[in-house]
Amino acid sequence: MDADNKVRRKEVLSSMCEQRARMLQDQFSVSVNHVHALAILVSTFHYDKDPSAIDQDTFAEYTARTAFERPLLSGVAYAERVKHSEREKFERQHDWTIKTMKREPSPIRDEYAPVIFSQETVSYIESLDMMSGEEDRENILRARATGKAVLTSPFRLLGSHHLGVVLTFPVYKSKLPSKPTVEERIEATAGYLGGAFDVESLVEYLLGQLAGNQAILVNVYDITNSSDHLIMYGHQNQDGDLALLHESQLDFGDPFRKHQMICRYHQKATTSWTALTTAFLFFVICLLVGYILYGAAIHIVKVEDDFHEMQELMVRAEAADVAKSQFLATVSHEIRTPMNGILGMLALLLDTDLSSTQRDYAQTAQVCGKALITLINEVLDRAKIEAGKLELETVPFDLRSILDDVLSLFSEKSRNKGLELAVFVSDKVPEMVMGDPGRFRQIITNLVGNSVKFTERGHIFVEVHVAENPKPIDDAKAETCLNGGALISGGRRFNTLSGYEAADERNSWDSFQHLVTAKALQDDASVKMEVADEASQSVTLMVSVEDTGIGIPLIAQHRVFTPFMQADSSTSRNYGGTGIGLSITKCLVELMGGHISFISRPQVGSTFSFTTVFGRCEKASLGVGDTKKSNAEDLPSGFRGLKAIVVDGKPVRAAVTRYHLKRLGILVEVANNVKIAASACGKNDSSCGSKIQPDIVLVEKDSWLSGEDGSMNLRMFDWKHNGHMFKLPKLILLATNITNAELEKAKAAGFADTTIMKPLRASMVAACLQQVLGTGKRQPGNGMLNGSSVLGGLLCGKKILVVDDNMVNRRVAAGALKKFGAAVECAESGKAALKLLQLPHSFDACFMDIQMPEMDGFEATRRIRMMETRANEQMNGDTDQGSVRKDEWHLPILAMTADVIHATYDECLKCGMDGYVSKPFEEENLYQAVAKFFKTKPVSDS
């Protein structure tokens, strides 16, 4: 672009220069021509006329009037050729002497050229001898020799001191021959017409007429002498764009002299605006782009930094969270320890003789302490869950008995409130499942505890089903029920456990029946089903806890599972509690691979339901054929084959009763009311007991009271049976709560036998039935099923080896185990233990310390296992030996360790151990560990 611009600039310059040169040349030649004309005029009118037609005045006037024709000439003058010989005559004639240029009388010369005519503007040169000036003389000589106009080299003019040139024309006296020689010309010369070109003002004037005058600088040179250029116009040392110039040749008509015009730009090429702006814009754009890139880079860096920072913050936050949980866990643990001290001391205190007030205080303190411990345990649980430290066990356990236990926990409370509390477990739920019984119990306890807390009337119903292809119809129903709150009608009687409306109608009789009957139908095909079921390793259970309590306000429903959030602050005022329970429950459920959800309608009730995944229990691990016995509480089997009639108007409740009786092996018929039951009996009587001869009749209190002629009907029973020789069916009243008056009435009405208070539990029902039927050789310990007695039952009579190098530990462990009735032997090193365990031995279990000098627990266990395998191999070859003991030698070995954290369970298992207990023996811990091995052996053996 710049080059382009330069080219253009150059072109402009050259054209301007040429233009000026041509103009100057034209003007010049016009003037020259005119001077030529003047010369001819002088020759014509001065010499050819006689006398002369021109004198000074005429010449002055004429030239003045024709001065416009010669704008370039400052003035013209005519000098006559005077030879020295003619000087005197000439001076006389003109009456003045010839003077030199310096206005002195001229010295003597060959010839003179005094000015005789002059234009007024140059009148000062009249009478001056032009030959006296060097320049002029040369000019004159050259002019008369050539006969043409000649120019001097530039010099300062006399008048104006401007640079100028003098133009000289020869004037010849007579006509010249056509081709005159130089001598002829000189001879014929009469005078000279000269004019001074004021080149400077001339060019100035000329340029002033042209556009672009300011832009360019014009210099005119006389370059006759090529080595020394004489300036005619312009300053020699003028600034300007020296880089670019244009030369134009000027021809002023004098072949001897050469002139040149040089044009330059005044200013250096102002780089063009477009180029400039373009460059500028480009620069700006570059700048912007650069800035954008820079900004982007900075931004990226910043974002990256932020990201890293965030990441670090996140890590720190997570660490803080874990630290918080760990802190909580630690602190809770630390609090628990002194709290145990406090509770222990309180227990000691209560053992002392106290006044009743003191006892009251102490008991209050104990209750509060226990509440605090519970709370701390909850916090600890939660913290543990959050810290990821909570590990679930996988041990076989009986779901039903756990549910019964939980129910028994709350039976007192619910009875006081007059609530129906019931549990129902579907037949399809396996007898034993693999999972964490403690946590499962915790979940159920939490939920039922909540329900009990918030329910004043109606019922609490725990249901367990196998979750399988959920029924879409039910779900749809649930949806409408949930969303369309207007579904509830007033006076309707609900087919729920207690007849009160429940929040989730899925549990009403319709669907319940559906589930139960479907199950009954499947019983036939159960063999097939079971095969299929067995294939899958796990079973998903659907547990729901339904209550008819105050429900959860709609606004609070979303934060029910948030820790420390109760429905509203008044809740904790009215009902107590911290609101941490449900959040723990949720955590636990999720840990167990399930979901928890709830449906709640204020003033109607809530139904919490959750799913949980349990492993199926391989039958093989439970010992053969005694699955029943493996329950934590053994249900007596003495009722097998008994027949019972349950009289209950409410089908759900009846189903629950039936479920419990069924667990005892009792065949159950359900009758809607007493009349039907009686007639059923009657019918059977007539057919002589071919079908059902009920041994027991269980009558729900409501049904009994509601039948207006209840007592009469009962008499009917009596009467009918009195007539027969058959054993009379025992009449049993089922009641949630019963007043003394009612009790009397019941007795009068014929329920002499007994009253079973709800909530029903299989074991309790069994105990009552034993009492009624008189079959009861009461089993020892049945009924007080707390931990230590169970542990006692488990360990009683067992021979146990304790291996520990630390004498104190040995002693304590032995003491603890002895307390539970075990026979304990001790060994102080792995080697001693090996010696004692040489086969055959009579130990039932071994507790093994892990950290021992010489041979640690792992090594010792490994060796014991090796010994056993060898023995087993031998035995397989020779079957006679193993007759006394089990089929195979496998001594349960439990690791004892103080560091529960470091004792990796896996490592214990790897070397053949069966479990571990943490070292200061805790009863519960010990029980859990031991239960796995001794459970399967019937207690009654001992």
Binding site: V808, K818, Q851
Partner: protein, 156 residues
């Protein structure tokens, strides 16, 4: 009169126990230990505790001699001793001693001899303190048994 004495003794024993619990010298394991006492071994607790003291003294002696050794390098051995010490103290519920052992073990794991020495001194101090207190306690209990022996069967 005898009843009063017995009450006072019981109160003393309880106070002392409470103090020990309060100060974090003992923990609930000690209570559990007490529950292990039965007719067949009425002196179970003191028996066990005496064994503990016996062992502990041996261990402390060993630890000290290990630490005093000029070219001392027995950190490993020390660890084993400490583990034993810890095990037996946690068995009887001597919580503070167990904690002191923890600190000791930490110091020995860092191979810091100065730390070990400090920890040993602390441990010895704690040990003496506990020993004294427990002796006191047993004495009281002894007296209690004596005082109660005439009248009632043993409590708890």
């Amino acid at each position: 009169m005898m009843g009063l004495v017995a009450d006072r003794l019981r109160a003393d024993a309880n106070r002392l126990l409470a103090f020990l619990f309060n100060q974090g010298i003992l923990d609930e394991q000690f209570l559990q230990l007490q529950q292990l006492r039965d007719e067949s071994s009425p002196n179970f607790v003191s028996e066990v505790v005496n064994i503990h003291f016996h062992e502990s003294e041996k261990l402390l002696r060993n630890l000290r001699s290990l630490l005093m050794d000029r070219e001392f390098s027995g950190y490993n051995k020390m660890g084993i001793h400490l583990n034993q010490f810890m095990g037996s103290s946690s068995s009887i519920g001597a919580k503070r001693i167990r904690n002191a052992c923890f600190a000791f073990r930490a110091a020995s794991e860092q191979n810091s001899r100065a730390g070990c020495l400090r920890a040993l001194e602390l441990l010895e101090h704690d040990y003496c303190f506990l020993k004294n207190k427990l002796h006191e306690l047993f004495q009281i209990q002894q007296q209690r048994v004596l005082a109660a022996g005439a009248r009632y069967p043993m409590q708890n």
